[in-house]
């Protein structure tokens, strides 16, 4: 096994990540504005931006889902219990004792087990909750004439707001974890350049050097 700098975040993936970051930040800001937590922009502007940004994010997601399915990258998110406990233990105890992070990035496993599980939960629970409730909210005009629509809307809003809080909590932890291990900058860099240190098997190394010379340094 050799440690090499390998292209693990393709151009689309990086674009996806950063534009998603910008869009979600905008959604949180405008969303909490609509919710009444701040009045930095008017309600009208907040709603207009929130809706427009949400539509842009939906579009991005359609592309991202397509990309994950066609490139096979979705496999990175398949949950595994292997090593999960060790990673959790590391963040809970080992990190304070100066232990090394137990996980090594593999070519087909760029997330550690805890990370993969978190992202999977994000993609399967939190994001669907916010999307389903958000789209229902956006399309209220289509179902506002059914009985009890207003009560239903307040439940939709409840789910939407709860999901927003959870997303914000995720972001707080997500950003914090960048400060563990490498420096913050070192963590962010792969998401900019696409290259990160990955343990390669001789076969992977040989394959990349021969067939994808631009993806390995």
């Amino acid at each position: 096994m050799t440690l090499r700098r390998v292209m693990v975040y393709s151009r689309f993936e990086r674009f996806w990540h950063w534009s998603q970051m910008a869009l979600i930040s905008a959604l949180l800001f405008t969303g909490f504005g609509i919710h009444g937590f701040h009045r930095l922009i008017g309600f009208e502007t907040a709603v207009t931006l929130h809706t427009g940004v949400a539509l842009a994010l939906i579009l991005l997601w359609i592309f991202a889902i397509f990309w994950h399915l066609t490139t096979g990258t979705w496999r990175h998110y398949v949950p595994t219990t292997k090593g999960l406990w060790r990673v959790a233990q590391f963040y809970g105890f080992g990190i304070f004792k100066g232990e090394k992070h137990p996980y090594r990035k593999a070519y087909w496993r760029k997330h550690n087990p805890l990370q993969a599980l978190t992202y999977l939960a994000l993609k399967l629970v939190l994001f669907p909750a916010i999307w389903v409730s958000g789209i229902a909210y956006l399309l209220y005009f289509l179902w506002n004439d059914i009985a009890g629509a207003s009560d239903l809307l307040s439940n939709v809003a409840l789910i939407h707001t709860a999901a927003a809080f959870a997303t914000l909590a995720f972001i707080v932890v997500h950003i914090y974890l960048f400060t563990t291990g490498h420096s913050f900058a070192e963590h962010v860099k792969p998401m900019l350049t696409g290259f990160d240190d990955v343990e390669l098997s001789p076969e992977e190394e040989a394959y990349l050097e021969k067939d994808e010379p631009g993806h390995i340094r």
């Binding site: 009444g36 309600f43 709603v47 100066g98 232990e99 809003a157 909590a169 400060t179 490498h182």
Partner: protein, 564 residues
């Protein structure tokens, strides 16, 4: 034409100048000379409209094919309004029959939903309280000649007053139909003769002046009742009313209140609170005065997120709610409170006025009149908002009231968030303290206008006035008079502001906004689940302080937890 030197006046419903100083002497003051501070301030002043004045825009192009000045039938010196009417009807053969079905003539409306017989002929209101029994004064605004009591012949089409609606000279005016108490004689002094021929020869589609001379003075004074109808609409600017804007669209009332055979669209007894039909095909809709009948059901441009979102509101929010930001915006105040309890105070045996309110256009408004009590005036007021399905529910003279429920809504609106036909509407709300029978728990008819001492306006005796008022119509009266607090509500629909002045989203979508307290709808920005907000903030803060603690422990131990 200069201001008429007589109290024309009374104004349409007996308003301003009625009884001033000596003129209001409670005993017998006929012919008394008004004191120096007597105000001649006709609420509606006949002013010649120059013949070359452009006509207001109405539903159809005015008078294009007939010049009434050339008609043979009109080349006479008419001696009365009825003679003019006969001449009108000799050509407009069906007009009389049509008009006699209109509420402008019948003053009666049978509510198909409740079966109640309403209309000015029967109703109790919260202003001068009742036209019934006071027709001599109130019928100043009845489109007929000579209704002074129940003997008026509602089948005589020669009694129709065509000119009040169709005179285009601006010179026509009406006075009370009977003389009332001797103290009121001053109101008829120096009244200029009406030039019937001149007016008959210059008739046309009703202009705002025609409708406004009555409708702008409802409740007994300029702007008193509605708050969205007052004399500022004779010559409105764009900011006041984007449709009636004199230099712009210059709509007449009938541009929206379309007619079919002298029946007007836009009933206030049974409002179309939600029009889902929209514009209809060209020329088809002559039955509604709704915004939607011109602007359609999706009035905002659908090409932007903003427009789409605004159109989403149409099903639950009336156009008026956002597009009429405030009432009484034209410099003329509207009455918000009337206290009858204080009426009847005299100075040396004379009725008097106080005027402690100066309105936007500089005019002083009376805040006390001996004949009516105390008033409160207000301008630029935010409407009262609530769910409304178009149905007004009236308390009539026969309704038993529950005095523990004061203020009692004399004309309550009906509506509910659960009813798809209801929308959020703006209302002007009026608060009144008015007489009632405290034993029978009913409202009462007051006898206000008459030539005897029983008439309150001149006699100043509530007990006598109510006794006569009730007896006239065989209504039970215990003789125990007291005062009761009431509300009345007037759905607001005029004084539509230009779009840039519409109510902003924040004004409702916020805490303590315009719709604070309006139940039955989830309003983003106003409503939230307190517990969810607490738990959510706790979770976010928990995450923040959790990682902060985690980081601090790492730092204090001096171990970074290297990855590789």
């Amino acid at each position: 034409m200069s201001r008429l030197p007589f109290a024309l006046i009374v104004g349409l419903a007996l308003t301003n100048s009625l009884f001033g100083g000596d003129a209001a002497k409670s005993s017998s003051a006929g012919g008394a000379i008004p004191p120096a501070d007597f105000e001649f301030h006709p609420p509606y002043e006949p002013v010649l409209i120059p013949p070359d004045t452009p006509k207001e825009r109405s539903g159809k192009e005015p008078g294009a094919t007939t010049d009434h000045a050339k008609l043979e039938e009109l080349q006479r010196d008419f001696q009365s309004g009825s003679e003019v009417t006969k001449a009108c009807l000799s050509c407009h053969t069906e007009a009389g029959k049509q008009f006699m079905k209109s509420v402008h003539w019948t003053w009666e409306y049978k509510n198909p939903a409740t079966g109640q017989v309403l209309g000015k002929k029967n109703l109790i209101n919260t202003f001068c309280t009742n036209a019934r029994g006071n027709e001599g004064a109130c019928a100043q605004c009845h489109a007929g000649y000579g209704w002074v009591d129940d003997s008026f012949d509602f089948t005589d089409e020669t009694k129709i007053d065509c000119l009040v609606c169709h005179d285009n000279t601006g010179l026509y005016y009406r006075t009370p139909q009977s003389e009332g108490h001797a103290a009121c004689a001053i109101m008829f002094e120096n009244a200029p003769p009406l030039d019937w021929k001149r007016m008959a020869q210059r008739v046309g589609m009703p202009q705002r002046r025609n409708c406004g001379q009555c409708h702008f003075y409802g409740g007994g004074d300029d702007g008193a009742k509605h708050g969205d109808l007052d004399s500022s609409l004779f010559h409105p600017g764009r900011a006041l009313d984007v449709h009636m804007d004199e230099k712009g669209l210059n709509f007449s009332c009938t541009a929206c209140h379309v007619t079919k055979q002298h029946i007007w669209a836009g009933s206030r007894y049974n409002v179309v609170a939600k029009d889902v039909e929209g514009t209809g095909k060209p020329g088809l809709r002559r039955d509604v005065a709704t915004c939607e009948s011109c602007h359609g059901g999706a009035p905002h441009p659908n090409l932007s997120i903003r427009g789409l979102k605004l159109n989403d509101h149409v099903d639950r929010v009336a156009c008026q709610t956002c597009h009429i930001p405030e009432l009484a915006r034209g410099g003329v105040a509207t009455m918000t409170n009337w206290n009858w309890r204080t009426a009847g105070k005299l100075k040396d045996g004379f009725g008097y006025f106080e005027h402690d309110y100066t309105q936007g256009n500089g005019e002083h408004r009376k805040t006390y009149k001996s004949i009516k009590g105390n008033f409160t005036w207000a301008e630029n007021i935010q409407p009262h908002y609530d769910w409304f399905d178009g149905q007004m529910l009236y308390k009539t003279i026969d309704t038993k009231l529950d005095p523990s429920q004061q203020p009692i809504a004399v004309n309550a609106y009906q509506g509910s968030p659960d009813d798809p036909r209801s929308r959020i509407w703006p209302f002007k709300r009026m608060h009144t303290v008015q007489p009632y029978d405290r034993v029978n728990n009913t409202l009462v008819y007051m006898y206000l206008w008459g030539d005897d001492e029983g008439a309150y306006w001149g006699g100043y005796d509530f007990a006598k006035s109510v006794e006569v008022g009730m007896k006239k119509y065989n209504k039970p009266y215990s003789g125990e008079l007291d005062f009761i607090e009431t509300y009345s509500y007037w759905p607001t629909t005029h004084m539509v502001a230009p779009s840039e002045d519409a109510v902003g989203c924040d004004e409702c979508h916020s805490r303590d906004g315009r719709l604070e307290g309006l139940d039955g709808v989830y309003l983003p920005g106003r409503d939230s689940n307190r517990w969810l907000d607490r738990i959510g903030l706790l979770a976010v803060c928990g995450a923040f302080f959790g990682v902060l603690g985690h980081g601090l422990i790492r730092k204090s131990l001096g171990k970074g937890g290297k990855h590789a």
